[in-house]
Amino acid sequence: MRTPRRFFARLLNSVTRRRDNERLREEIEEHLALQTADNLRAGLSPSEARRQAVLRFGAMETIKEEYWSERGLVFIETLLQDLRFGWRSLHRSPGFTAAAVATLALGIGANTAIFSMVDTLLIRPLPVQHPLDLTFLVFPRDASHFDPEFSGPEFRQLQDQTRGVFSNVNAMILGGLSGPTGRADGLTVDAITQPAQTLFVSGEFFQMLGIRPSLGRFILPSEGNIPGGDPVVVLSYRYWKTRFRGDPGILGRAAYVNGRPVTIVGIAPKGFLGPTPLVDMEAYLPLSMMTVETAGNADFLTAIGTRQLLILARLAPGVNMERANVALASLGQQFAKQYPRPGEGTLQARPLRPPGLMNGPNPLPALAGLFLTLAGMVFALACLNVANLCLVRATDRQREMAVRAALGGSRIRLIRHLLGETILLTQFSAAAGIVAASFALQAVSSAVTATDLPIVFEFPFNFRVFLYTLGVAVLAAAVVGVFPALRISWGNLNNILHEGGRNLTGRGQRTRSVLVAVQVASSFALLIVAGLFVRSLQSAQHSDLGFDPMHVLNVALDPGEIGYSQIQATDFYRQLLSRTRVLPRVQSAGLALTVPLGDNTPSSEIMIPGRVPQRGEELRANFNAVSPDYFTTMSIAVLRGRDFLESDTESSSRVAVINEAMAQRFWHGLNPLGRSFKRNGDAQHTLEIIGVVRNSRAEDVYSPISPGFYVPLSQAYTSAQTLHVRTAGPPQAITSMVLAMVRELAPTTPVLSVRTMTDAVRNGPGGLLLFNLGAKLTAALGFLGLMLAVVGIYGVMTYAIGQRTQEIGVRMALGAQRRTILWMVSRQGLVIVGTGLAIGLVIAIGVGRLVAEFLVGIGPADPLTYTIVFILLCFIASAACFVPARRAVQVEPTVALRYE
């Protein structure tokens, strides 16, 4: 009780810097006065009375010291004192402070920015209760692929039979994505329709997550069992804010999803995007309302063979992942007999953590590692620069320090003075770095806009990021502070005082040289990586797409979102197409189900008569549904056979056009025309091959082109279609005319996106988006690194040559040639640069291996990249050496000799 009270009193006094010196002084004064008076009364002379009083009081200073150390906490007081001292000394040299803070802020900012991205993509758990207990169920296929989809009957059986291990089992269907279109559903309010990414969830979904609606209610456990039976919708907070400006009156309002009436009953909490980390689920509906997408068909709930449900489950209290998986393994065997599915593998629960439901190899950890490494190198460069600056300062201040030490300042205390300065420096830098990082992140966020999915690429500042930044700052303080501190503890007091501040080039110079060599090396490695990414982007830009994106306008539409029937929609598209074709400057126009290099490339399993798939072989091909003239519009050459015609209708025989890859893969160069195949799940129709077209890129710009086929839209209806228009000249010119036509034909139908094909390629998720981002990020880091290295070399050379000014003067006075001296002083720098480059080469080759898997069209040892970076760095580094050297030899010998 007493001890804590005393501690807090002292802490408070320390922080408030309360000293009460006045009180002690007054008390002492009074004490002495009283004692003197007593002494006088005892008969002493006035001066003796006073002297005796002081003697009896004891050693004044010691008592004051004791009093003060009792008053506050010595540790904190000296720390505050160090910080104050640091502040004063920084204040005295604003130039140094500004340079150091700016440099460190860049290093810390780069790291904070990269870590924020890594945090968002890999670490940040969902904002729900106990997010680490959430799992999703899969049948694994191989190391990285799995089969996450279940049928309605499977879901219900899982719910019943896993009560021991899961406290909650829920099913969900991602709206749009499960269908062939990959498009959002349409949400109509007040006769205005806009797309909304839907998520259909079973009744206990929100209960399982343990979150509260920010308004209204969630979907109830009783909802979601009767097909089409519970027409309610819950909106995401983001969607509600952006579309309805956060109007609370929206609750209870009538709305339509794809033309079917629903009621808005609630708003999800702020910051909750749904079960995936990046895509905002904008509207939640009960599972059974999936009928708004299937035109009333409820197979997804009842049919054994229709597997569309993704299953999320929460581990029961006290159950861990291993126990759950043991229980699931036996259940999985039973499932395999009861509901056979292709492939092997046992039922498993996986943690619902980033990358969550991502199927396929996950490149994110490797990318995260790469970028953290690069940012780390920038950070190292920044720290070394500032360490160098501090070292120079420490050398300049060596005499000051020696004098302090001679006057009795303990070595620890001196080092702590310096550390106070360093701590202040790094804290300022961390603050500035966070600001810089938030700007950089905003730039990255705004780069990711050209997708049809509501991707939320935002990086909120959170506790983890703060801790990381703090850690980085502490590391910076350690790196920056350690060199000057060591220097002081190495320094020999006597020598320094006697040498008069000269002859200090020895060890400090060597340390600085090593620092510069390291800087050149890391900068070299950084530039190599940046160069590789830029070259990779170039090669992707120049890769043959197989179609010509120039002068094509894409307009994505979906009258299904306002409830158009197939007949209405078909009629709408027919009129739109025929009217578009006669617009001025339009060369041709066509419709398609999907845009190449977009969010989603549909694929289908196929069956070829007379061909039995070998074990493990999957006959699969990408497909697209297109109108006549599509190939002309996209400039995809028809190599054999014919294009689709208006005469290919719903009632005529089923036809397909395949690409070269498909012809090669399944018919091995034989003439495929006239041959036929079937799509899985559509056994009654045989598709006859009537044409072969050139390979064109559909999924991405770098993988080998997969087999693919096209079917006529007239024989494969979908309400979501994209109008492609090829124009003479810039395609933006006809945008307004096309939009006016859409409004005229179907006034309320939403236009999902209007974009040129060039833009879609450049920024589409399958296009160059990632290459662009990668190249920009690495180039930014590489540039930062180069700048820091140049500043480092220049600074060290300037200082080193400055130290030799007198020597240069002597040499010149004795008749040395300018050129000889120039070579003499710059040689030292060049040796350092050369060493750095050699080390950098080794590092770069190592880092190159790390990035190899992200490169397209070039190898990690791309000779052009190495040559350019080598020459660039040689040139810039040499310039940084020569400039100060030239300046030194141009000084008149008489001036140099007098220089001190």
């Binding site: 009270r5 002292r10 008390e27 002492i28 007593d38 009896r56 009081f57 004891g58 009093y67």
Partner: protein, 115 residues
């Protein structure tokens, strides 16, 4: 000159508490004088070392202080025992008596007591 003994750690605080308990509010000099008088000038204690101890007791809440007029009609800081200080004094007194009685017994011990 008689041999003076050093003050043991902590006993000064106890002396202060007891003095304030018996005599009521006093200023620093007053306390120092009383301690000297009671100890019969046997203690080798600097008067000044009283003040850090007073501060500690105050920060612990055992005593409180305020300004008041001194005999010489100037300002002096007067210390008084708080309720917590009173309790502390009782506890410390008990401890002290216990300690002295134990130590006392040790000094009375003779070899034959153990045989």
């Amino acid at each position: 000159m008689r041999h003076k003994i050093d003050v043991q750690q902590g006993t000064l605080a106890l002396m202060i508490l007891k003095t304030l308990d018996v005599l009521g509010p006093l200023h620093g000099y007053g306390i120092a004088r009383r301690i000297e008088q009671i100890s019969g000038d046997l203690l080798a204690v600097n008067q000044g070392s009283l003040y850090p101890v007073l501060l500690r007791l105050e920060q612990e809440g055992a005593i409180a202080s305020e300004w008041g007029p001194s005999d010489s009609n100037r300002r002096a800081r007067f210390y008084r025992l708080t309720r917590a200080g009173h309790k502390l004094l009782l506890a410390e007194t008990r401890d002290w008596e216990q300690t002295t009685s134990i130590i006392g017994r040790f000094f009375q011990v003779k070899a034959k007591d153990f045989s």
